[in-house]
Amino acid sequence: MRAIKHALAIAWKELQLLSKDRGGLAVLFLLPLIVATTMGAANRAGARSDGEGILVNTCLVNQDAGIFGEQIAAAVESIPVLEVTRVPSAAEAEDIVARGEAVAAIVIPAGLSDQIHAYTPVQVEVIVDPGQPDAASIVTGIMNQVVDQVAIWGEVSYGIRAMLSQSEVLAQAEPNTLRAIEAQSLGTIMATLEQMRRTPAITVASETDEQVVVQGGFERYMAFGFAGMVVMFIFFGVTTSARSLRMEKETGTLRRLVAAPIPRGSVIAGTMLAYVVLGALQTGFLFLVGRLLFKMSLGNSAIGLLVHTLALSLAAAAMGVMIAALARSARQADSVALILGFVMGGLGGCIAMGMSPLTRSGGALQTLALLTPQGHGVEGFYRLMVEGSSLLRALPESAILVGFAAVFFLVGTWRFKYE
């Protein structure tokens, strides 16, 4: 009982110290907020399809005089994500992209329609800005789809002409008749293809084995992004806790505490307690903001969230103890914790780059992610917030985090020198 009182007194002191550390608070609360909201707003912009989201600046040069060139151009201009400017010459377009003023330039070559009619392969060039690879890949992807449609046209009309030309009867027909038949055929084909586009011949139906409740796409992604930020910045708290413990040694307050009638373990226990509280506050703050600003989903299990948050904060707090024990100065503790925070945060998948946590990505990346506490932190939040799972499904991840905490704690207390 007394040990608990002592731990509480020490935790309270640590929280007081934290409240005075404006810089530290800014890094732990404000910075993740800035990064998360910027990324969130950016994602929201991307997710909107009403044309007010991302705009990719593109040039278009149509050197073709025929209908296919115009068709491609019209298709490209109708896509909301692309902000298309028509440019008279290819050289000018290439120059614009070279200077980075447009993400890509689409060059429809002269004679495109003629070549399609003649069934000779033709190439549409997309000149991309190497400085904006993400945007460029969007344009290329779109172009591939647009071009496919035109290709089908070309193929079908050729097929018809090919077959017509095989008719001896028609071979003797008047050129005008031939062309009339061609035109009529093309018209029919157009209509047919339109219909077919709406009902493809073969479809792939995706289904999952269980009925899992999955929220709307955007709110899902927001939760994933915010969760990653929370995990990353909870582990940045390690820099503060490790430095604080080392400072106790360096200023001599630790010596004073050891001279007092308290069990030595209270010092570490009390410090860890303070940082568990800190982690919980960080999480609460960031998730609250995410909820208010972006209507981010919080999943279906409040208990699950709480348990997982505490497990995560515990792992971070224990890590702080371990680093404090192993480092040789406060400055070293700070730097090591910072670098580890960045490395493990990245490997654990805190920056949401894909659709799912790195712990599910397969291969070496997955293995690396599973070796970091951050990876399990993100996975647990993903299950709770994105997949809407119950406490039970997230519990294994929380348990692994507690396991990490235990290991860090043991190493830390074993190596921590009190005098």
């Binding site: 002592h6 007194a9 309270w12 307050t253 010596r255 004073r256």
Partner: protein, 335 residues
């Protein structure tokens, strides 16, 4: 009044180095006891052992009858430590610091508040109690340091080098506080320092410690008394037994001793030294313990003049603890 602290054969070994070599001493209740010695003598190590920070390699100690080996917590509760370094949380206020340590010693609620207010008054920091410690001057920080050690009203206070790097005004204040604590509250104080003036001023008894051992333990008066009427260091080119006997026979002289020369290498074989050995080695120093300092000086000079012996140097040691230390160990207190 019994002994508040009994140190019984306490020793500490770090690896191969014996930092404290089995010391014994006792501090009476209500006493201000000094631990005087140069840096590295083992003062802080001793205090660390008694306050439970370091585990002794051998021996034990008892505070208020509680053995540190078996009843450490109870012993700790009775003692307070004011460490050498400023062991405070700089960004917190003086009040927050003191309250924290009070809680650590088991105080809470109204009692805690009251005690904090009290110690702030003792160290005269009531006005600035709520400002962060980092804004304080060095002396004020030391005062907070002391207050933090007092808040739980220990019976025995360890003040470890409390005035290092402190301005004179704060120093005086610290002295006043120490004396007041002792006289008004009967607090026993163990005061360690390498400043002999403070120890002479404040302490009733002093243990002189060097290289992990207590070389003398007595009241200040008696320790200085070891110097007799004073100590002279007489430098001559060469001192032989005749000289020593002659000086010893002087009426004002208590005793005479030849101080060991610093080691010199022997001349290389085959090379004869052209100088006289004494001069080549730098001369001798004779320590004269006088009954009466001035008369001993006159007598010594007279003797040397009589016997046509040159006097190369003459040092008169002040009757203070520094000289006592020098007398006992041949070393200076402050290197």
């Amino acid at each position: 009044m019994g002994a508040i602290l009994e140190v019984d054969g306490l020793a500490k070994k770090f690896g191969d180095h014996q930092a404290v070599k089995g010391i014994h001493f006792a501090v009476e209740e209500g006493e201000v006891f000094g631990l005087l010695g140069p840096n590295g003598a083992g003062k802080t190590t001793t205090i660390s052992m008694v306050t439970g920070i370091l585990e002794p390699t051998a021996g034990t100690a008892r505070i208020g009858g509680y053995d540190i080996r078996t009843d450490l917590d109870k012993a700790k509760q009775l003692s307070g430590l004011v460490p050498q370094e400023l062991a405070l949380y700089q960004t917190l206020s003086a009040r927050a610091n003191i309250s924290f340590f009070g809680r650590i010693y088991g105080l809470s609620g109204r009692e805690l508040k009251e005690r904090v207010r009290e110690v702030l008054e003792i160290v005269a920091l009531t006005e600035r109690a709520d400002k962060p410690v980092e804004t304080f001057s060095g002396g004020m920080k030391r005062r907070v340091n002391i207050a933090a050690g007092l808040v739980h009203q220990p019976k025995l206070l360890f003040l470890d080098e409390p005035t290092t790097g402190v301005d004179p005004q704060s120093r005086n204040h610290i002295f006043e506080s120490v004396l007041r604590l002792n006289r008004e509250r009967g607090m026993s104080i163990i005061y360690t320092s390498h400043y002999m003036e403070e120890v002479e001023l404040l302490c009733s008894r002093v243990a002189i410690i060097d290289q992990g051992e207590i070389v003398a333990l007595d009241t200040v008066k008696n320790l200085i008394g070891m110097l007799g009427g004073g100590v002279l260091h007489v430098g001559v080119p060469r001192a032989d037994q005749a000289l020593l006997d002659g000086l010893a026979a002087l009426p004002a002289v208590e005793s005479v001793r030849l101080l060991p020369r610093p080691a010199t290498p022997p001349p290389a074989p085959g090379r004869e030294s052209t100088k006289e050995p004494a001069l080549a080695a730098g001369g001798d120093v004779v320590k004269v313990v006088a009954k009466h300092s001035q008369q001993a000086v006159v007598g010594t000079i007279g003797y040397l003049a009589e016997h046509d012996l040159p006097l190369t140097s003459l040092e008169i040691l002040e009757p203070n603890l520094e000289s006592v230390f020098l007398h006992l160990t041949g070393k200076k207190l402050r290197e």
